[in-house]
Structures are given as structure tokens and as C-alpha cells.
């Protein structure tokens, strides 16, 4: 593909659509209806990408089955994937699909998310060591917030909950605000760099 197709055309499309959407965000113009349709078209393109992704997943796992690399896991994945598509094809409010969702999908997702508790406990044990003054400060504040947020602390004193609330409301909020403002400016910067074609890493290849 020539440089026009690899660089110039993507940059031109990015600039035109990006500029248009930015203007539409701030100004109501007769072209606002077009902006709404442009947004919808982005969503449609993104969702079509799911179809290619499903195709890629299918091919990858068929190859695994052929090579007999943990073929049983790959077979289970493909069976569940296509069964879910078939069951949910008619409507997401179909009772069979709802049964499938509530009895298969929800327990599995919930279980994996609950692993977070175990990982956080082992990470806390491993990481919260008072190696330096800053680490000690982190350790003390983490312990105070955890203790204050647990109802059991109220048995000893109501003050612990107040301390935890203060730490969340004052130092945490102040720190978060500073980081969020910096991130916001960073987002604007990368947006402008992308619109103007200065940021090219997402297109791949060396920068000219």
C-alpha cells in the first residue's frame, strides 16, 4: 500500500471527522444531525469488529483442536460461544437466554471477580512493608482506611470511621483531583496530536 493509503488518507480522515465532532460538541449547528449519524456509524464499525474477532477466535481454537493442544478447553469454548449466539439470537429478553445468562454467565463472572479479594490479600501481605518513610506512610494510611471502613472498628470507637472518611474526603480527593486535572490536559494533548497527525504511533511503523 502506498504512503497515501498508509499515512495521508488516515490522517485526513482523522482530522476531518475529529475536527467536526469537536465543533459539534461546543456549537449547535444545522450539521448536528450529521454528527449524531457519524457517532452512530463509529459504533456500527466498532461492533462489526466483533464479528471479525469472533472469526479470529474460532480459527485459533480450531487450530488448537487440530494440534491437540488442550483441545478440550478449545472445544468447550467454541460450543459455548455458538450456543450462546444461537440462544440469544431471537431476543435478549428470551426466557431461555435469561436462564443461560443467570445460571452460566453470572456465576462465572462473579467468581472470577471475587478472586480479586484473594489477590488483594496476597498483594497487601507482600507489598505493604515499611521499607522507607513513604512506604510507612502508605502502610499506615491503608491500615487506617481499611480499619475505619470495617464496621468492627465501631465496637472500639466511632472515631475510626471518621478518620477513614476524612482520609477519603480530604487527602485522597486532593491527590485524585491533581492527577485527574493532569490526565485531562494529557488527554487534550494527545487528542490534538492525533488530530494534527503529530502522534503516529497507533498507525505503526517508523516516524518520518
Amino acid at each position: 500500500m502506498s504512503m497515501f493509503g498508509k499515512r495521508t488518507l488516515p490522517f485526513a480522515i482523522t482530522f476531518v471527522f475529529g475536527f467536526f465532532m469537536v465543533i459539534d460538541f461546543f456549537f449547535s449547528t444545522p450539521a448536528s444531525a450529521i454528527a449524531s449519524n457519524v457517532n452512530t456509524s463509529f459504533v456500527v464499525v466498532a461492533n462489526f469488529a466483533v464479528i471479525t474477532a469472533v472469526g479470529t477466535v474460532t480459527l485459533m481454537h480450531i487450530r488448537r483442536i487440530q494440534k491437540k493442544q488442550e483441545w478440550y478447553n478449545s472445544l468447550a469454548l467454541l460450543v459455548v460461544l455458538y450456543l450462546t449466539i444461537a440462544i440469544g439470537w431471537s431476543s435478549p429478553s428470551d426466557p431461555t437466554y435469561l436462564w443461560w445468562f443467570n445460571n452460566l454467565f453470572v456465576p462465572l463472572e462473579t467468581t472470577v471477580f471475587c478472586l480479586l479479594a484473594f489477590y488483594i490479600s496476597s498483594a497487601s501481605y507482600r507489598v505493604f512493608r515499611a521499607r522507607s518513610k513513604e512506604a510507612a506512610l502508605l502502610l499506615v494510611s491503608a491500615v487506617l482506611v481499611m480499619w475505619g471502613r470495617a464496621p468492627i472498628s465501631a465496637v472500639i470507637s466511632e472515631g475510626f470511621a471518621a478518620i477513614a472518611d476524612w482520609m477519603m474526603a480530604v487527602p485522597n480527593t486532593a491527590g485524585m483531583r491533581g492527577i485527574v486535572i493532569g490526565i485531562g490536559i494529557g488527554v487534550i494533548s494527545i487528542g490534538i496530536r492525533t488530530l494534527l497527525g503529530i502522534e503516529r504511533g497507533y498507525l505503526g511503523g517508523k516516524v518520518e
Binding site: 463472572e109 471477580f113 489477590y119 488483594i120 490536559i185 494529557g186 494533548s189 490534538i192 496530536r193 505503526g204
Partner: protein, 260 residues
């Protein structure tokens, strides 16, 4: 016609754009050379890749689990993909194996293209394997389960997670730490920063992630944009100071101006 409540945002966006473009133009004309401080976390990518090569074990890379739609997700994904390009080129040069796991379908094609281009740029197009870019699953927990399995099966030596990341960050970081992998994490999601800072050897906090693309490319024009970004931050700091002083003196003028 200007939308209600959008006036002050538009004015500040215009000011930031003018600053950024002005700095870029000044650098392009050679008026000054932009310099930003050393970002040791990004320098460490070479160390991570080198370590994985010596150990003969693969690297796991995730360019975040967000896609290219969403106000604060897309910039993070773009930043993650920039770092992917740089890391892929290093892997191609050193002959390291890398797995790239993807959660959002639209990112997969981009990631594959970026990695392929990187191998081409490193002069090793035949070494590129499209199977190393793996679309795992679209939901957070399914993706997490898939990647944890991959990490354990392949016994990774390095774990790089940069981009829009949610609750899976602590699980990946902890699992990789158990495998003895060296880690780099970076996200603009403030709720995940504590986990990354605690568990990863190197962390990119917030806007350091957005400067990454410029830093690794060493392109003066991109670096100029980062310098411009820092100047915009000075404007924000000035506003905060003026706002605090105005509030102390009981004047709501700045607040009313910002509501315009």
C-alpha cells in the same frame, strides 16, 4: 450557536490548542529544542525485553483493555499502542517472544498491524507471527481468566500493561509477581494507580502514559507537544490559585465565569 454551559470549556480548549500548536511551530522552525525529563519507566522497557531474552521466556503485553471509543479511553489505548510499537521493535531486534492480549475487537487489527510494521522496521519480517496477537474475550472477567491462564502456561518473564485498565490490573500484577516476572504498568484510571504503584516494578502515572509515544520516538515535534502540555498545566495551576484566592475573598466571579 454556542451550547449552554460550553463557553468556558471552549475558551480554555482554544487556549490550550494555541499553546500546543505554538510550541510545535517554534520547534519546527528551530527556535528551541524541547527537552523533557528522563522517564526511567520507559527506559526500563529495554531492560524488561533484555531480561526476557536472557531467560528465554516470553513477554506479555496488554495495550489496555479499552477500545478506541470513549473520551478518556481512546487516548490511553493510542498511548498503549505507541508503546506496543516500540516494544515490538525491541523484541524483533533481540529475538524475544511476545504475546499481545486484546480485549476489545477493534484494537486487534491495529495491534497486529503495529507489531507487523515493527518487525518489518527491525528487518525481521519473517519472525512476525500473527498468532502472538490474541483476542481473548470482550468482558473483563473472561479476559482476566484467559490472560491469567496464558501467563501461567507460558511462564512469562516480563509483563507490560499500559493503557485503559480496570480491575484486572491487580490480578495480572500479582500473578506476574508470583511467576517472578518484571513489570511495567501505566494507566490514567486513578482507581487502578495504587495497585500498579504497589505491585509493578515500574509505573507510568496518568499523563506520563500520554507522553510515552513522544518519549520513545524521540521525535522533536512530538516532544514539543509534551512541553506544550506542561505549559497548559501551568495555566490550570494559575486558575486554581486565582480561584482559591477569589473564594477566600468571597468573590464568585471566577466560578460564574467557569459556568458560562
Amino acid at each position: 450557536m454556542l451550547r449552554s454551559g460550553a463557553g468556558s470549556s471552549f475558551v480554555f480548549l482554544t487556549i490550550f490548542c494555541v499553546i500546543l500548536v505554538a510550541v510545535v511551530l517554534l520547534v519546527r522552525r528551530g527556535v528551541f529544542t524541547p527537552k523533557i525529563r528522563r522517564v526511567s519507566q520507559l527506559d526500563a522497557i529495554a531492560e524488561l525485553v533484555g531480561r526476557a531474552t536472557e531467560m528465554g521466556k516470553p513477554i506479555h503485553f496488554m495495550p489496555g483493555s479499552g477500545g478506541l471509543t470513549g473520551g478518556d479511553i481512546a487516548p490511553q489505548t493510542i498511548a498503549g499502542l505507541s508503546i506496543l510499537g516500540y516494544t515490538s521493535e525491541l523484541c524483533a531486534k533481540y529475538g524475544s517472544k511476545m504475546f499481545v492480549t486484546i480485549r476489545v475487537a477493534e484494537t486487534q487489527a491495529l495491534a497486529r498491524d503495529i507489531v507487523q510494521q515493527a518487525y518489518l522496521a527491525a528487518g525481521k519480517p519473517d519472525a512476525f507471527d500473527p498468532n502472538q496477537i490474541i483476542y481473548v474475550a470482550p468482558t473483563s472477567q473472561s479476559y482476566t481468566a484467559g490472560v491469567l491462564g496464558l501467563m501461567n502456561r507460558e511462564k512469562i518473564a516480563a509483563n507490560i500493561m499500559v493503557g485503559a485498565i480496570w480491575a484486572e490490573s491487580i490480578m495480572f500484577a500479582e500473578e506476574a509477581a508470583t511467576l517472578g516476572a518484571m513489570q511495567l504498568g501505566g494507566t490514567a484510571h486513578t482507581h487502578q494507580l495504587p495497585f500498579m504503584l504497589a505491585c509493578c516494578d515500574y509505573s507510568l502515572i496518568g499523563e506520563e502514559l500520554f507522553a510515552a509515544g513522544a518519549y520513545v520516538s524521540k521525535d522533536p515535534v512530538q516532544l514539543a507537544a509534551v512541553v506544550g502540555q506542561d505549559m497548559c498545566k501551568l495555566v490550570a495551576i494559575a486558575l486554581i490559585i486565582i480561584g482559591v484566592l477569589a473564594t477566600i475573598m468571597g468573590s464568585p466571579s471566577l466560578l460564574n465565569l467557569l459556568k458560562w
